[in-house]
Subunit: 313 residues, 2 copies
């Protein structure tokens, strides 16, 4: 195994983590969380979504959060959008990047957007044009890349078609998302290796849910395939709607902890990140699935032992 | 990545899973669990421990459990022992294999056995002799292989010394145990690769705790290093005494589920294994950390969707 020296983490907690929470956080609470992430040294943040406020009430104040935070040197704020209206709001709010999302599964895309994947893609051109004209970057995301709750396994060619559709629009940064936590390390390794081989001009990002405990194993497989960008959500917020009570997004702190133990640099201060995760867990008023919030860091186990023989390692 | 076609799982739930449970299971309940594991097709079972009943009360009835189950064609029952008295009890009980355990950390071994690792090893010779004369196999286990709560990181040479001590006693099957869940995939890969290179005559087993969420990632790293034998505990029972409330042993069902999704054969019927895990969780009267018990299998998510378009994959 040949692990990379450096990995980039995008914190998606403010968007994917909070979008399905029953308890609505106040704008001030969200700002506090984002400031905490920034203080921890995170340079890529999915700050919210510009979608219909009635469809996703927790995202209704994304403008206010972004405007209160403001642009920051060296930090990229991205937001999820689904149409031109979203781009217009993103421009006003001042985010750096918009993310266009489409599902590799026809049934899943119909269920989420009431459109086929092809119909979704057809609407992207005007979004890309508007965003680019305003100086915003654009990235793409493909959900159900590793399996779909309606259709089961998703043939690679369906992913290939969408990667190409994004490339045709000039989008070269693409998130491959395991929306329902069904990815496994073999599939991740094989699918990502093949996509990198076919389209080396694309920068791939991986987005894993820890629903079946495999997210960190999938990240290992993704790194082996050569992927250097991963999403995480503070405290592991953001569950799979098809598996209530199960784990959500892989916790950012669990990724950073593993990578740090492996001497892989993320540039993130894990202790400060843990402060944010603790705060987020408190704000949503329920426990979440974060191994490090529960168990503490490996190094803490060692440092905290009441022993005279600590050689901290 | 080059994944193996087949992996052997040893179910350690009856021993490592139950040894620290506050609620004492009855002998009949334990027999029911072991029968369930056998029905699921598990061929390697750590059925209990022959240690002082006052030191580990949940293991006091290991003879009774083993005698009720009896020898089974093609199944290996192993038991943990710490001294000659243990071997004698193991012989009477009719187990197939005894496991001798020593910690790579002096402080941890002193804390557990009131002896240095060298003193532990010195007591093993008479155990091996007695077990071998009675026709029992003998395996070794090295705890704190990947880190120690007292000493922090453990130099490879301390593991090397113990592997050699076991080899000198004719023991060629050695479990490397991540007693407190501090192993990470890089360390697992590097340490295991090096040990296999140095001593290819040894069959290594890996024993992971999921305390910091890394157990499945560590198994991926172990497989990449070439290790084909892994321990698991039903329902994820058996915590880390240094991290109360954190995850315990990696759940056998979580391992089998991941491997099955990767088309790696274990010979184990996952549904029957899940029945045992559910039963175990009920018997100990507390929730445990098993991703698949909570979320269900990847294939179930797909099969259970109320949709006419299921293409089960």
């Amino acid at each position: 195994m040949n692990f990379p020296k450096q990995i980039t983490i995008c914190e998606v907690g403010p968007r994917d983590g909070l979008q399905n929470e029953k308890k609505l956080l106040t704008t001030e609470e969200k700002i506090e969380l984002v400031e905490g992430i920034l203080a921890a040294g995170v340079k890529h943040i999915e700050i919210g979504a510009f979608v219909h406020p009635k469809a996703v009430p927790p995202m209704a104040d994304t403008e206010k959060v972004m405007q209160a935070i403001g642009k920051r040197e060296g930090v990229e704020f991205r937001a999820l959008i689904t149409n031109l209206k979203g781009v217009e709001r993103a421009i006003v709010a001042g985010v750096d990047k918009v993310k266009l999302t489409v599902s590799a599964s026809k049934s899943h895309n119909l269920s989420n957007f009431n459109r086929t994947p092809e119909e979704s893609v057809a609407t992207f051109e005007e979004c890309v044009k508007a965003a680019t004209q305003a100086g915003l970057s654009v990235s793409g995301a493909i959900s159900t890349t590793f399996g779909c709750p309606f259709e089961g396994s998703i043939p690679l060619e369906q992913i290939d078609t969408l990667v190409n559709a994004f490339r045709a629009l000039g989008i070269k940064e693409i998130s491959l998302s395991d929306t329902t936590g069904v990815a496994n390390p073999k599939l991740v390794y094989e699918r990502c290796s093949e996509l990198i081989k076919r389209y080396p001009d694309v920068t791939y990002h991986l987005h894993f849910h820890n629903t079946r405990g495999m997210a960190l194993a999938n990240i290992i497989a993704g790194m082996e395939a050569g992927i250097l960008h991963y999403d995480g959500s503070f405290a592991g917020l953001g569950g799979c709607p098809y598996a209530p009570g199960a784990s959500g997004n892989i916790a950012t702190e669990d990724i950073v902890h593993m990578l740090e133990e492996m001497n892989i640099c993320t540039g993130i201060d894990l202790d400060k990140l843990l402060d944010v995760a603790r705060k987020a867990q408190k704000l949503v008023e329920h426990t979440t699935d974060s191994a490090i919030l529960r168990a503490g860091k490996s190094s803490e186990l060692i440092a905290n032992k009441p022993s005279g023989q600590i050689k901290k390692g």
